[in-house]
């Protein structure tokens, strides 16, 4: 065994005395407590478990948790058959983003060439939660940078959270409003460069409940084509 980490992995593995994970959420017996006092394995398991059960969260974590939840609804809800829905084994992130961008360029090029309906009309399937939230604009190819985001109202919603991200999901901007439109700040408008695809989504909330989500929408300011 040459790698000290192999030795440590073995040394730090659970022993037959260690607490089962299922016990972590339950009141412990005196014997379990005594074991826990001296076992680094069980102490670290408990710390990890508490990181899961804790309601404490930074605003960034809260937003990320909500974003992942919306994403899970989109990916998983209503899939007819779980076993047919095997986990995606992703290529490294940047390779994936580059591939997605390349596909987009090709597909967008074909669409523009054939003057087919805009991107927003095809290829994006939204899965809604309890209600439907229709994104209105911007969608697909645009002649100029958008000045605002618009969507249809959802009954019962008290707030809408919006986000604009790069295709690799780097967050560019997020905000919240009680209206069904929001004006983009100039620094965001400035980032809508011709040819660059951006993603946005809007979620309707009532308090901390998410009522509906638009799913991810795409838009891009078209690159001017000489002679057209």
């Amino acid at each position: 065994m040459n790698d000290p980490r192999d030795a440590w992995r073995e040394a730090l593995a659970a022993t037959p005395d260690c607490l089962a994970l299922e016990r972590l959420g339950e009141p412990l017996t005196a014997a379990e407590r005594e074991h826990l006092d001296t076992c680094a394995r069980c102490q670290s398991e408990l710390a990890l478990f508490q990181s899961f059960t804790s309601d404490e969260a930074t605003p960034e974590e809260t937003r990320a948790g909500a974003w992942v939840a919306a994403e899970l609804h989109r990916r998983l809800d209503g899939a007819a058959n779980v076993t047919a829905f095997e986990p995606r084994r992703r290529a490294p992130r940047f390779a994936w983003a580059a591939a997605a961008a390349a596909v987009f360029v090709i597909v967008a090029g074909l669409w523009m060439e054939k003057r087919e309906p805009s991107l927003g009309d095809a290829g994006v399937t939204n899965v809604y939660r309890t209600g439907r939230l229709d994104a209105v604009a911007p969608l697909g190819d645009l002649a100029a940078a958008p000045r605002e985001l618009r969507w249809n109202a959802v009954a019962g919603a008290t707030a809408y959270t919006v986000e604009i991200t790069e295709v690799d999901r780097t967050l560019l901007w997020h905000s919240e409003t009680s209206a069904t439109r929001i004006v983009l700040p100039p620094n965001v408008v400035a980032q809508c460069a011709p040819g660059k695809t951006l993603l946005w989504d809007v979620a309707a909330r009532r308090g901390s409940d998410e009522l509906a989500s638009s799913g991810v929408q795409r838009f891009r300011v078209a690159v001017p084509v000489p002679g057209r």
Binding site: L21, G25, F49, T53, A64, A66, V68, E71
Partner: protein, 200 residues
């Protein structure tokens, strides 16, 4: 633990699990979705703390729920549903960390001495096993936070930045500081043992 994305509602995990168990085959998927969706936000937030990045957090969370869907019939109700789901998330997360090989660092070579230290036979017998002896050695050498960070990093191979976020370590260099001090203490203790035949 309460699911995170719910305001108080008459639906409980127990009721939803019972509804899933008694659902007609064509309604089972939807019944399971209702149960799992209560935890999307909690699992998603936890996965984000682990990966530090939304898309990979969503991929991890997706795998967790797919696994949970496939194994839902193994949930016996012996623990809280949230704890059962956590155990799937924890195993999935740690398996992924172990698949991602970390580059070896020179200072870790020194740790081999400690990991392979042999207690004298008398002590070994008294402690029943080497693992227990080592646990005692760690308990005597490191403070609780150092032990926890050390175990998560070397036992479970969680990256240091993930440990920093999960344990909410607020010092400037996060988990790394605990690893540095743990290594220093362990190396010193190992030298003492090797030099004097001392045993913890």
């Amino acid at each position: 633990m309460k699911p995170m994305d719910q305001t108080p509602s008459p639906e409980t995990d127990e009721k939803l699990f019972a509804a899933w168990r008694h659902a007609k085959p064509e309604q089972r998927r939807a019944a399971a979705d209702r149960l799992f969706a209560r935890y999307y936000e909690r699992v998603g937030g936890w996965c984000f703390r682990l990966t530090g990045e939304r898309e990979s957090a969503a991929d991890l969370a997706q795998d967790v729920f797919l696994k949970a869907h496939r194994h839902l019939d193994s949930f016996q109700g012996n623990s809280q549903f949230g704890t059962w789901l956590y155990s799937i998330a924890r195993n999935e997360a740690i398996n992924r960390s172990k698949r991602a090989a970390l580059p070896m660092d020179d200072s870790e070579e020194a740790l081999l001495d400690v990991a392979t230290l042999e207690p004298d036979p008398e002590q070994l017998a008294a402690r029943n096993s080497r693992a227990r002896w080592l646990q005692t050695f760690l308990a005597q050498t490191l403070d609780e936070k150092e032990r926890t960070v050390f175990t998560l990093h070397y036992g479970d191979e969680l990256p240091l930045d993930a440990i920093t976020r999960l344990l909410r370590l607020e010092n400037s260099s996060g988990a790394k500081a605990y690893i540095v001090s743990a290594k220093r203490k362990l190396a010193r203790a190992a030298q003492r043992i090797l030099a004097r035949g001392d045993r913890p």
